[in-house]
């Protein structure tokens, strides 16, 4: 270990920064966050530092560095572009045992500044000791993804309960058990989803219980897995996947996404592929309730967004009936995913002022108002639109929409197997039959489809056919 990692209290202590440019400004950012009393010595200040000066966050001496500037300093940072000056600052500080950092010159430093993940009051610091700054930055990125932004608020909440928990539970073992439950269970979830008041109430309730373990009740996360590309998972989804005991999923969840689930997690498939036996919704609802009652953390993973044709509402309703805690994690819905990856905006200034999503299974819940849907300045998105494609196009034409209205079928949207078929209301059904499009497919109807030609940036690995389809 070349350096001793420590956290330094500089609150209201005199800290000197030599240099007035952007590099200095980045160091000042950190000192400001740590509430130091900052002095900057530099003939001129850059824009960022001038803002800090105007806001009264630092004292500026508009001149060259003088040896006496370091008198009484708690720490000093040299961030000028003058190597000789940086060296002088370093030497004078070392002579007087004042901690000094010279930006990008590890050999002149008596301390170095790590990459940090700031979840105040929780701070994670990463350093490669100057050996590989890019590596520490990459590591920092990974930590950013693992630590939810609200972690700091969780720590703050814990702090406010610390004394009471100490009084409530006599032994260290009991307290540790209590905190482990609180910081990983429902209380943490409430904080991490921004419901701090509720988290406080839950803590109060937990403190009334007899045993510290009483927080461990099952819960269900209804999570949208996005349209398919694992890169479109959200952080919350990823985090919950890694902590769930059971994952209940259906066929719209890509296998690459399922791989993110915690290795020890039980996986239950309740999928529905066309023509395949599927688990009825009632039975899925009962399964979720039963698993949660067993005390499990259950992740119900759905393609796209749980509330958009995902029947998440029914599952939430059943869980609420059974008194089981649940949370909804939205996902990127198929319409957004396909639109982005096929290069078709759903709204556009010149041609689409509203956007309507309808289900492709027309028998679902009765008749739609085709006259209102046949609006030329509107984008119509049909989920699972392949099966009834012919009938949908016919009805829209019948309701007055031009047969020449452009339409696109997107199969396997956002995946490497994505195919895009472009046509119009009159031609698309025959084209789709000709090239045998397969579900899952999203149908986009409207003038916005014309933009696809210019916007198609996504070229999946095996896209020869896709290109052919596009020009078909």
């Amino acid at each position: 270990m070349d350096f001793l990692p420590i956290f330094f209290d500089v609150r209201s202590r005199p800290c000197l920064v030599v240099g007035g440019g952007e590099v200095a400004a980045r160091k000042v950012d950190l000192l400001v966050r740590a509430n130091a009393a900052i002095t900057v010595v530099a003939p001129e200040l850059g824009r960022s530092l001038a803002r800090y000066r105007d806001a009264g966050r630092l004292t500026h001496h508009a001149r060259e560095f003088r040896p006496e500037d370091i008198d009484g300093c708690t720490l000093v940072i040299a961030a000028t572009d003058d190597g000789a000056l940086n060296g002088e600052v370093s030497r004078r500080c070392r002579e007087r045992a004042i901690p000094v950092n010279v930006v990008d010159a590890p050999e002149l430093c008596s301390f170095i500044v790590p990459s940090i993940v700031d979840r105040s009051p929780v701070i994670v610091a990463v350093s490669s000791g100057g050996a590989a700054p890019v590596l520490s930055r990459l590591l920092r990125t990974r930590l950013e993804t693992m630590l939810p932004a609200a972690y700091g608020r969780l720590a703050t909440l814990a702090e406010t309960f610390r004394d009471r928990v100490k009084r409530r539970f006599g032994t260290l073992a009991q307290r540790r058990r209590f905190w482990e439950e609180a910081l990983q269970g429902p209380v943490a979830e409430l904080v991490l989803t921004g419901r701090e008041r509720a988290a406080k109430i839950a803590m109060e309730v937990a403190l009334q219980q007899d045993t510290p373990g009483s927080l461990s009740v099952g819960e269900v996360y209804l999570v949208g897995a996005g349209p398919g590309d694992p890169d479109l998972l959200t952080f919350r989804a990823l985090r919950l996947m890694q902590q769930a005991d059971v994952v209940v999923y259906d066929r719209l969840v890509a296998p690459a996404i399922l791989d993110f689930a915690h290795r020890g997690a039980e996986r239950i498939y309740v999928g529905k592929a066309s023509g395949e036996h599927s688990v009825p919704q009632e039975q899925i609802n009962r399964l979720l309730v039963r698993l949660a009652r067993d005390g499990k953390r259950v992740l119900r993973l759905k393609g796209g967004d749980p509330f958009i044709f995902g029947r998440g509402g029914e599952e939430a309703d059943a869980l609420a009936d059974a008194g089981i805690a649940f949370q909804i994690v939205p996902g990127v819905t198929a319409a957004s995913g396909c639109a982005a990856y096929a290069g078709i905006p759903l709204t556009h200034r010149d041609c689409a002022h509203s956007c309507v999503f309808i289900p492709g299974h027309l028998k679902d819940g009765g008749e739609l108002n085709w006259r209102a849907l046949a609006e030329p300045r509107q984008t119509l998105v049909v989920y699972m639109g392949l099966h009834a494609l012919g009938s949908i196009c016919e009805r829209l034409i019948g309701a007055g929409l031009s047969a020449a209205t452009p339409a696109a079928l997107v199969q396997d949207g956002t995946l490497q197997s994505q195919r895009v078929l472009i046509g119009d209301l009159a031609s698309l059904p025959a084209k789709a039959a000709e090239v045998t499009m397969r579900p899952p497919t999203l149908l986009i109807i409207g003038e916005v489809v014309r933009l696809h030609e210019r916007f198609a940036w996504f070229e999946p690995a095996g896209s020869v056919q896709a290109t052919a389809l596009r020009t078909a």
Binding site: F235, A320, F326, A339, P345, T347, F357, G365, R371
Partner: protein, 272 residues
């Protein structure tokens, strides 16, 4: 871990930052935030999200702030193109989803015309994130089989929507920036045939710690809107809007912050 696509110097990525909560960023969006040299962002992108970028990243606010100064769209295009031509990796970061009321289409057109390579990263549209947070299922068996998204802001993309027709096109309506004009919009919807007792939910500052949900009806919406605190607001109209309050019953503590306005939300449908 995921292998992300390469963010090539000289290219522009248009990414959606989702509804507000940094945990609802996609992995791809965070990768872009970490890798970009320049981030051109909207006012809707939170400071919490921007803080995820390395300190050296240049951040340019190009937002449209209601009432404040706004960067003209052409100037945003010029900025994106200029930074890309200098060889920077340029991230255009927008609240919600770039292709749902995000003017992403216009920006793509400008980039395509300038010959700048681009990529589009979808995000969770504010309308979808907000409704989930409010426990409002946009579609729900037996209650809502379709949903329409529109914006209510005069002068915005999609300003001249015929709300009378839109009200008939879908069971659930999700309206962006519609708070100011909700009276006019509600009147048009009622005129078009929606009942004045149609449930309405105002979702304020969705997915942030300040989130608040206010339930009312179409007839009373204009009056209720006047009393709402300033916040990014989304309006959900239709039977599902009342369902949120119903679903919240299993976690009364979790939704202690939700505020209900008259009339009290009632149990809708739940045909079982």
């Amino acid at each position: 871990m995921i292998r992300h696509p390469e963010f090539a110097p000289g290219s522009v990525w248009l990414a959606g930052a989702g509804p507000g909560d940094p945990a609802l960023l996609t992995l791809a969006a965070l990768h872009a935030i970490e890798t970009a040299d320049v981030i051109v962002h909207d006012a809707l992108v939170s400071g919490e999200i921007l803080a995820l970028a390395p300190a050296a990243t240049v951040r340019i606010a190009a937002g449209k702030r209601a009432g404040g100064t706004q960067t003209p769209q052409w100037a945003i295009h010029e900025q994106l193109i200029a930074h890309a031509r200098k060889g920077s990796r340029v991230l255009r970061l927008k609240g919600g989803d770039p292709f749902v009321f995000g003017r992403g289409g216009e920006e793509c057109l400008a980039l395509a015309a300038a010959g700048v390579a681009f990529r589009v990263i979808p995000g969770i549209s504010a309308g979808i994130g907000a409704t989930s947070a409010a426990l409002v299922p946009i579609t729900h068996r037996g209650i809502a089989r379709s949903v329409a998204f529109a914006t209510g802001e005069a002068g915005a993309e999609g300003a001249d929507v015929d709300f009378r027709a839109l009200g008939r096109a879908a069971d659930t309506l999700v309206l962006y920036m519609a708070r100011k004009h909700i009276g006019r919009i509600a009147a048009a919807l009622i005129d078009g045939g929606r009942p004045s007792a149609d449930p309405v939910a105002f979702v304020l500052d969705a997915t942030t710690p300040r989130e608040q949900v206010v339930h009312t009806t179409l007839g009373a919406a204009a009056g209720v809107a006047l009393d709402l605190p300033p916040a990014a607001t989304l309006v959900v109209i239709g039977a599902v809007a009342a369902l949120g309050a119903v679903l919240a019953r299993s976690e009364p503590a979790a939704h202690a912050a939700s505020k209900r306005a008259a009339p009290a939300a009632r149990r809708v449908g739940a045909a079982r």
